[in-house]
C-alpha cells in the first residue's frame, strides 16, 4: 500500500541556517501524525514545504504516490498557527472561501448554508457568521479557522499548533474537536504541537523533529515505553537532558 504522504530526504536551508537536514517520513491513509519538537526546530517549515508554500532545496514529496503539485492543494486543508482568517471579510465568507470561488463554485446562498453548518460543527453559533474575524476571541478564531480548513472536505488536513495561546480548557475543547472531526471525515492529518495533551488527544502516530532530522517515529502507544533520551526529556519537560536549552 502506498503512503498517503511520503517525504524523502527533504532538505531546506535559509542562508547558512540548515532547518531541515533530510526528512524521510511516511504517513499512511487516515493516520493522525503529530510532529513534536522544540520551538524553531522547523516544524512549520516542514508543513509549508508539504503544502508547497516553501520550495524545499532537495528531496521529494509524494501525495498518493504522485509528486506533490499545485493540484494537490485541492485535497488539502490547513489550520494556521494564528488562524490566518481574512480580516477583510466576515466569518462565513472565510469559511466558504473555497466554495465561493474556483472550479467547484457554489451559489452564495448555498455556500453560506454550508459555512453556517461548519461553524456549528466547531461549536460557533450562526450569529458569528456575520461578524468580522477581529470581533472574535482567540479561541473562536481558532474554531473559525478549523471550520475553514474542513469546509471543502479535504482528504488531508494540517494543523499548526492548534492549541498554542489558548487556556487549558479551550485547548481541550479544540483537541477533542479535531480528533472527532478527523475520525468523522476519515482524513489523514499532520498536526504540529509542543503540547503533550494534544499529542494524547489527537495522535495515532508521533514523530519528533530534532536538529533537522526525524529523531523518533512510532505509534502513540509506544511513546511511554520508548527509551530515547531526547524524547523522554521532551515528554517530561525537564530542563536537564540531551536537548540543549538556552538559559
Amino acid at each position: 500500500m502506498t503512503a498517503k504522504i511520503a517525504l524523502k530526504d527533504l532538505t531546506k536551508s535559509f542562508g547558512s541556517k540548515h532547518v531541515l537536514r533530510g526528512i524521510t517520513l511516511d504517513v499512511g491513509k487516515s493516520e493522525s501524525l503529530v510532529v513534536i519538537g522544540g520551538s524553531g526546530t522547523g516544524k512549520s517549515v516542514l508543513l509549508k514545504c508539504i503544502l508547497g508554500l516553501i520550495k524545499p532545496d532537495g528531496g521529494s514529496i509524494q501525495i498518493d504516490g504522485q509528486p506533490a503539485s499545485i493540484k494537490s492543494l485541492e485535497s488539502f486543508g490547513m489550520l494556521f498557527q494564528g488562524a490566518a482568517l481574512f480580516d477583510s471579510m466576515p466569518v462565513w465568507q472565510n469559511v466558504a472561501f473555497r466554495l465561493l470561488r474556483g472550479p467547484s463554485k457554489l451559489p452564495r446562498k448555498e455556500a453560506r448554508e454550508i459555512a453556517i453548518a461548519k461553524l456549528q460543527r466547531v461549536g460557533l453559533p450562526p450569529e458569528t457568521a456575520d461578524l468580522y474575524p477581529s470581533e472574535l476571541s482567540g479561541g473562536m478564531q481558532k474554531r473559525a479557522g478549523l471550520a475553514r480548513a474542513i469546509a471543502a472536505e479535504p482528504q488531508i488536513i494540517f494543523f499548526d499548533e492548534p492549541t498554542t495561546g489558548l487556556d487549558p480548557i479551550m485547548s481541550g475543547v479544540i483537541n477533542d474537536l479535531i480528533s472527532e472531526i478527523v475520525s468523522e471525515m476519515g482524513a489523514t492529518t499532520i498536526t504540529i504541537t509542543h503540547d503533550m495533551s494534544s499529542v494524547r488527544a489527537i495522535a495515532t502516530h508521533v514523530a519528533m523533529l530534532h536538529r533537522g532530522h526525524i529523531h523518533w517515529h512510532g505509534p502513540v502507544g509506544d511513546l511511554d515505553t520508548a527509551q530515547d533520551p531526547h524524547l523522554r526529556q521532551f515528554i517530561s519537560g525537564a530542563a536537564q537532558g540531551p536537548i540543549e536549552t538556552l538559559r
Binding site: 503544502l51 488539502f76 473555497r98
Partner: protein
C-alpha cells in the same frame, strides 16, 4: 583601505538598486501575465474601484480646487509683469490639464492608496493570510495584485478628469471673485483654447501613475519583511518609490508627448 570605502558603498548601492529594478520589472511582468489569464475576480475588482477610485475623490478634488485657485493668482502676478494678465484662463487650463492635474492627483493617490495597499498586503503576509490564500487554491497575484492594478490604472484617469474640472473651476472662482474677470469670457477663453490632446495626454499620464501606485503598493506589500517593522518599512517604501517613479515617469511621458 579606508580611502576606498566610499567606492565600495557606492558599488553596493548601485548593485542593490539594479537588483530592485530587476525585481520590480519581474513582478510587473508576472502581474501582467496573471492579468490576462483566468480566473478574474470581478467582485474584488469592483471592491478596489470603490476603495481606490471613489474614496480618493475628495482628496483629489480638494487638491485640485486649491491648486487651481493658487495657480490663477500666480499667473496673474507673473502675467502682470508684461501686461499679459488676460492669459490667466488659458494658462490655468493648460497647466492643470497637462501637468498639475495628473501629477498632483497621482501624488495624492500615492500617499493615500500605495500606503494602504502596502500596509494591507504586508499585514496579510505577516499574519500568514497570504499563505492561507495559497492553501485555498487562490493565487495572491491574481486575487490581490491584479484587481488593484486594474482598478488603479482605470480609475486614476477618471480622477484626473474630475480633478481637471475642479482645478479649472478653482481658477475660475478666484479669477472672477478676486481678479475681476468676467464669468462668461473666462469660460469661453478656457474652452476655446483647450485642445483635446491637452486633456487626453493628462489622462494617459493618470493611467500610468495609477499603474505605478498599485504596482509599488503590491510589490512592497508582498515583499515585506517579518513583523510589525516589516509592515512599517513596506508602507514607507511604497509611498516613497511610487512618488519618485511618478515624477520620473511624468518627465519621460512629457518628453515623449513633447517630441511626438
Amino acid at each position: 583601505m579606508i580611502l576606498f570605502a566610499p567606492f565600495g558603498a557606492l558599488g553596493r548601492t548601485t548593485l542593490s538598486l539594479l537588483a530592485s529594478i530587476g525585481q520590480v520589472a519581474l513582478f510587473a511582468l508576472s502581474a501582467l501575465r496573471h492579468l490576462v489569464t483566468p480566473p478574474i475576480y470581478l467582485r474584488e475588482i469592483a471592491q478596489q474601484f470603490l476603495t481606490i477610485g471613489w474614496l480618493s475623490l475628495p482628496v483629489v478634488g480638494l487638491t485640485a480646487l486649491f491648486t487651481g485657485g493658487a495657480l490663477a493668482l500666480q499667473i496673474y502676478a507673473g502675467g502682470a509683469r508684461f501686461n499679459a494678465e488676460a492669459v490667466v484662463p488659458q494658462i490655468v487650463a493648460i497647466g492643470i490639464t497637462r501637468e498639475l492635474g495628473p501629477v498632483l492627483g497621482g501624488l495624492m493617490v500615492a500617499g493615500r492608496v500605495a500606503s494602504a495597499i502596502a500596509a494591507e498586503i504586508a499585514t496579510m503576509k505577516v499574519t500568514e493570510q497570504i499563505d492561507a490564500l495559497r492553501t485555498l487554491s487562490t493565487d495572491p497575484m491574481k486575487y490581490l495584485t491584479v484587481p488593484r492594478l486594474i482598478a488603479a490604472t482605470l480609475s486614476l484617469p477618471i480622477l484626473v478628469a474630475v480633478g481637471d474640472s475642479i482645478g479649472i473651476f478653482g481658477g475660475y472662482l478666484v479669477s472672477t471673485t478676486r481678479l475681476g474677470f468676467n464669468e462668461a469670457a473666462y469660460l469661453s477663453n478656457t474652452t476655446g483654447f483647450l485642445e483635446t490632446w491637452d486633456v487626453t495626454s493628462g489622462l494617459l499620464k493618470g493611467a500610468a501613475f495609477g499603474f505605478i501606485v498599485a504596482l509599488m503598493g503590491c510589490f512592497h506589500g508582498m515583499n515585506s519583511g517579518r513583523g510589525a517593522r516589516g509592515v512599517g518599512r513596506a508602507t514607507t517604501q511604497a509611498v516613497v518609490s511610487a512618488s519618485i517613479l511618478i515624477l520620473a515617469a511624468n518627465y519621460l511621458l512629457t518628453e515623449a508627448f513633447f517630441s511626438a
